[in-house]
């Protein structure tokens, strides 16, 4: 049995190019499989084509077999199923990515996503980032390898480019997830320099207050400024 838990704060960017019934609004009836703890926030209902910032990892939890801890940025596309993401992961890697269960392992870079409902995942900088590192990230729909694509940058370099025809969407900011395992919460990530971009604009704007719209009681969103916030998953002990 695969058990996923813990997960981490995320600065999640969901760019959804299409239709949002009423945008992505937390409401009754939401379900996320076996994931018990889940938190995320929506910037607003505007459409964007980019998000960027820095994520500072402030805790380094022990990794337990079968679990993942993820810090990432995410872009969701039409139908609220397809997405792209980039960030850091530790513990159990997703399908196509590596796993690092060694408690002494560091955080690895990763990107993943879904295109037309099919999942993919890849790694970069295996076991590289440590507590206190503050890598930058950016997801932007722009030219990459000769065509317009979603370009996923991390730590100043392009890690992946992909597209399935979508060029803009809605931003979600602040995401954590946990499959219900009740040990070893205590995750803490500080996000700074958070900006968003309207489609085609050459001027980025401040992210604003993006507290999670659907937060488990264990999670805390701390608003710092229009470009900074903290996400925290409290320890259970």
């Amino acid at each position: 049995m695969v058990v996923r838990r813990g997960i981490a704060p995320i600065c999640a960017l969901l760019v959804a190019a299409a239709i949002w019934p009423t945008a992505i609004v937390a409401g009754p009836g939401t379900g996320n499989g076996g994931i018990v703890d889940f938190a995320w926030g929506q910037v607003d209902t505007d459409l964007y084509d980019g998000i960027k910032g820095n994520q500072s990892i402030r805790t380094n939890p022990a990794t337990l077999i079968g679990q993942s801890f993820v810090h990432g940025a995410q872009v969701i596309m039409p139908g609220l199923v397809d997405f792209v993401a980039v960030g850091t992961v530790k513990g159990k890697g997703a399908a196509g990515c590596t796993s690092h269960y060694d408690p002494h392992a560091n955080w690895s870079g990763y990107f993943d996503g879904k295109l037309n409902g099919v999942y993919f995942c890849g790694n970069f900088f295996d076991s590289f980032y440590v507590t206190g590192d503050n890598p930058s990230f950016q997801i932007l729909y722009t030219s990459c390898n000769g065509t317009n694509q979603w370009k996923l940058d991390f730590a100043g370099g392009t890690r992946h480019c992909t597209n399935n025809g979508h060029s803009q969407g809605v931003i979600i900011n602040g995401m954590m997830e946990n499959d219900g395992n009740t040990t070893d919460h205590n995750l803490d990530v500080k996000y700074t320099n958070m900006m968003k971009n309207h489609p085609g604009s050459t001027t980025w704007s401040n992210m604003g207050d993006t507290r999670p719209g659907n937060a488990d009681p264990f999670y805390t969103y701390q608003y710092v400024s229009t470009t900074a916030f903290n996400l925290y998953l409290a320890p259970l002990d």
């Binding site: 409401g27 009836g29 379900g31 499989g33 993820v70 196509g96 999942y119 399935n164």
Partner: protein, 217 residues
């Protein structure tokens, strides 16, 4: 005098023939040009013929939900509980015999319609919608600067993509990895008139192809 009369008679007959021909030509033009956006003439086109049962071979590869790292919030389709739409004179659409049950608020040129026999209540998520047999129809603008739609997806997803003809273009057929409730819809998407058209639902691959061809041809 008889000569003049004959000329007049022939002229009238000729005028009637020309008029009749013109009307027929206009009628033919209208009959062959008033179709759904992006549709093509079905005569002799592979992408308009019915797909045979079990004729499509798909990859058996799958990534279980728990092996996907970044999950998407499985939010309600109609969280406000707005009254479901029904097929009316103003909204007569149906797909695979299902009436339109809900239409997402349009954003620019984007649109999404949900087809289901039952109302879509405030607790129904996409995962439960597809599990209940619903079909969704998604339309959004395609960025021509992003390259060839079908070729791009095939290059990125390999044998998880099956290319099928939809009208006169390549359609991208995929069998989704499981959603939170384990349900695995098929998606068939194609580009026509600068728009991506996609239909999504739990149906056999061949059934999805036939639905798409019914829309495009």
């Amino acid at each position: 005098m008889q000569l003049v009369s004959a000329i007049v008679k022939h002229s009238v007959r000729l005028a009637v023939m020309v008029a009749a021909f013109s009307i027929a030509a206009v009628a033919l033009y209208v009959a062959t040009s008033v179709r759904a956006p992006g549709s093509v003439s079905s005569a002799g086109i592979e992408g308009c013929r019915p797909a045979d049962v079990d004729s499509i071979v798909e990859s058996k590869a799958v990534t279980p939900f728990e092996d996907q790292t970044s999950h998407i919030p499985d939010v309600a389709i109609n969280p406000d509980g707005s009254p479901s739409m029904s097929a009316t004179a103003a909204n007569p659409r149906s797909l695979d015999g299902l009436p339109v049950a809900w239409i997402g608020a349009p954003r620019g040129s984007n649109a999404e319609a949900f087809y289901l026999n039952d109302p879509i209540g405030p607790k129904m998520t996409r995962a439960t919608f597809y599990d209940a047999g619903g079909l969704s129809e998604l339309t959004y603008p395609y960025d021509a600067l992003s390259g060839d739609y079908a070729a791009n997806l095939q290059a990125q997803l390999g044998d998880r993509v099956t290319l099928v003809k939809v009208g006169d273009v390549d359609g991208v057929l995929t069998w989704w990895d499981p959603l939170s409730n384990g349900v695995r819809p098929h998606e068939l998407a194609w580009v026509s008139d600068g728009m991506v058209h996609a239909i999504i639902g739990v149906r056999a691959a061949e059934a999805m192809v036939n639905l798409a061809r019914g829309m495009a041809c």
